[in-house]
Symmetry: C2
Subunit: 595 residues, 2 copies
Amino acid sequence: MPIYHAPLEDFRFLFHEYLDLEPCRDLPSMAEVTPELIDAVLEEGARLAEQVLQPLNAVGDREGCRWNDGAVTLPTGFQDAWNTYVAGGWPGLTTDPEFGGQGLPGFVGLAFSEMVNSANASFTAYPGLTHAAYEGIHQHGAPEQKQRFLPPMVEGRWCGTMNLTEPHCGTDLGMIRTRAERLDDGRYRISGTKIWITAGEHDLAENIIHLVLARTPDAPAGTRGISLFVVPKFHVDAEGGIGERNGVRCGAIEHKMGQAASATCEMVFDGAIGERIGEENRGLACMFTMMNAARLVTGIQGLGMAAVAHQNAAAFAAERLQGRALTGPRFPDRPADPILVHPDVRRMLLTSRALVEGCRALGLYTGVQLELEQSHADAGQRNRAGHWVALMTPIIKAFFTDVGTEVTNLGLQVHGGAGYVTDTGVEQFVRDVRITQIYEGTNGVQALDLVGRKLVANGGETLKSFFDHARTLLDATPETELAEFTDPFKSALERLQDTSAWIYQQMSRDPNEAGAASSDYLRMFALTALAFVWTGQAAIAWRKLEASQGRTAFYRAKLDTARFFMARILPDTLALDARIRAGAAPIMQPADDSL
Amino acid sequence: MPIYHAPLEDFRFLFHEYLDLEPCRDLPSMAEVTPELIDAVLEEGARLAEQVLQPLNAVGDREGCRWNDGAVTLPTGFQDAWNTYVAGGWPGLTTDPEFGGQGLPGFVGLAFSEMVNSANASFTAYPGLTHAAYEGIHQHGAPEQKQRFLPPMVEGRWCGTMNLTEPHCGTDLGMIRTRAERLDDGRYRISGTKIWITAGEHDLAENIIHLVLARTPDAPAGTRGISLFVVPKFHVDAEGGIGERNGVRCGAIEHKMGQAASATCEMVFDGAIGERIGEENRGLACMFTMMNAARLVTGIQGLGMAAVAHQNAAAFAAERLQGRALTGPRFPDRPADPILVHPDVRRMLLTSRALVEGCRALGLYTGVQLELEQSHADAGQRNRAGHWVALMTPIIKAFFTDVGTEVTNLGLQVHGGAGYVTDTGVEQFVRDVRITQIYEGTNGVQALDLVGRKLVANGGETLKSFFDHARTLLDATPETELAEFTDPFKSALERLQDTSAWIYQQMSRDPNEAGAASSDYLRMFALTALAFVWTGQAAIAWRKLEASQGRTAFYRAKLDTARFFMARILPDTLALDARIRAGAAPIMQPADDSL
């Protein structure tokens, strides 16, 4: 069975040494936050992840969810785990104190989220979608709606969902057909079928609050005619009390490649009564403000599974005896050397580690910017932070989930044949993580968002924010001893700048150039962003070692991993650059039927 | 449900226009072979694959194999399919006429193998392992053993297996513990436990002939003390008649990520009676001659699943309506454009196609060389062909199976959310193909074989064979209009030559340099080999188009795909080169516990 030990040491390094939390000092969410509090929260979260959630991960995969006449039963132990989760106050970790939340900064929530996803990705569907629905109502609901719906969600008494996709439309939500007819009392009667609704039905909580995209009868066609509705599983009265069943039921659940314990539901709305959230015909805009947060969390989900996969592969490689080191036996008294003596096994483990720790640092760095964007007193600061977040959101969603698939596959490969056997438990990571490259907007859609929107947004200010942070870091890293990190980072940065300009020129001539470059450009950007966080981490580790300050092995490992990243991963940007500059012609010229 | 249409048009192009079969003309296996015969065999094979095997693929995944008290039951329909396979004479397609086979050339068998693997990879376990056991006995058995065992295997009345792995040893077979004690009659009593034995037990055939690696009591330690034995499930008398059950049974079957219908067995040998094949203590050498053929076929298995995945993705992309082309609606009268208008979807499809058709061409090209190596009258010709085969075997095994995982994942991604749902059937390809990167020697082991053995073999003659073929092709491709293919191919060739020399120098200093470079070098070599076959295919297609000879759309597609390969895949060699030249230090320096 897989192991899981939460990366508390790395979190401590990131929160207390790497991240600059100074600009957050006066944020309301930071009012009571001390380094000790962050550590305590993460240690408590680690215990939950390691002791409660992780042991259920294989159970969930084996048993899956069961559908019977509209009811969905979750695997053994999930109800108890949910109760423990709720009793620990985790649904309220980062939510608004006005509705009962603890109001901690979102970046602490991201670290917690990584651990929970490492431990049991399927389980996270239930709190994850609840939080997404909370966000929707919190951002767009009327004060009275917030008062009625949010406190029980923050408490964990009620859950939530997002209902977007229909059989004929996923990415292209303009084609939504679900109808909402206005009743005399101002409420709506909702009818239609939604598919792939994560956590759409289950028996964990007293109620489920569905956020539903639908179309009013006189709405304009396309994306500008979609509104957002709250449709509870059980009616909610004016005081927040629960009434009869509403006209929504789960028609079926999907059998999927992975995430078997996360119920993926077909939801049939048959004249269900709902309330509108936000303005009429502005539903898609409301949904998108939520989806940005959801995209970050989806990226963290990919990272979480990569992290646990790497950890298990490293443990296996240290234990499995097979063959001898190429330079002669390293452990002559044992029947064979552990496989970690082999360069190719080390390559797989170091690739995994460099990607995992790089993504973790970039994710939390972006989490800090998100906190500044959302709550800093100064509009300029909010604005600047917002540029970074806008730019990094598609990168984190797409690249971190690509890393999820890459690293879980590397982890399986390190295990050899044992990795393919279900009982070992590591093939589950490969299957579970695969959906993260698809949901919350496929990674292709993210890439198009990056190149088609973010590259040109705000007269280039959004794009520039990355280069500003990079320049600040380089200015603060003058040590010649750190040139082994700053030099390759600078080169990658220049390459990214040149290529960005080249794409910008090409796409003004032909929009297909943007699409043709998009995925390679996103990866090139992501690797350069990882070079940014690895340079920053290496600089701190090097200075600590120079000053002979504690944790020597930890800092050495940081430096070694940073070196590996620069030498063996960052050069991929060379190929990505060459691919991009081949332009759209090789992609667009072939006839449709020769694809 | 997935579709499958065998790539007969591409096979016809490869066999009748691309491949040079002239040097094979006088081989015994070619005595009755005409282009029409090849077409007829492949058309018949396509029918079997499309109509008999493919419909059972999802059934096999759903039902899996069942173990009960040592007996293994295969999924519904597998017995009938096996009977049809046998009735069609397919087990004897390429086997020796002396034992009842049809003796067709192995490269026709490779094409057939691709189709069967596209249709139903799990099913191929049974004929595939039977063929491997046939090869072992055919190459190393005494004449009397061949007469007794081979005809029923060629007929398909008996099946076969290979028993190598034990719980504590997979790659490192020197640690094998299974014991073989010699009896007075010259036979052996075999005891031990083997794991992960594909097709180890089932009820398809009258008997199962296990080839087993074991150690005699006085054998030297390590790989030089291992012998090869034939252990039939039911005793076989001198006339080939079947007797009582032998002392071998299936103790359990594995639950795996994929290939659910291929029984992966724990085989318990409890004093089973066996006969030695080949010389004592030379068992591993015998096994390796078989494994080279098995490695080619494993590569083809990866290719087969990539091919069917690509085909389904292309069909889905042509049907699924979602969004609009970036340059404005392509089909304004439909509610949305098919997703193949999007550059990033086209990128995924063209990447898949370029890899699939490139691997297909390289695999068959190598199949021709294998035929020359095995049966050409001239020793020099056999020798030269053997160099090519030795060089390409690890490349085909590792790269084609990597392509299998990459392309099945691209295919899933093109499907979006539908790809993740089991019923769509394409996620099965991702799960089924994943083991091919591991079995028959992990891809890391293949890479080490390439760089540690093949790069230096025969004073460089083995390596040189690729450059000789490349030079011959370039000399025969002088047209300036083809420079768009020959130029990038030449550059890649020079890069490969330089990098090979660099690695050769480095590894003489430090063996870890070979290991550190190995996987990236194998991929670099594979991409350059694909540039070789794409240049060759493009040249033929261009000349046919110039001469206005038939199949215009087909040739245009070949040229477009070749262009895409050169522009958007081959540049990866830049990054691989840079990674390799970073050397072993970044991989070997980190402490073991910071991997």
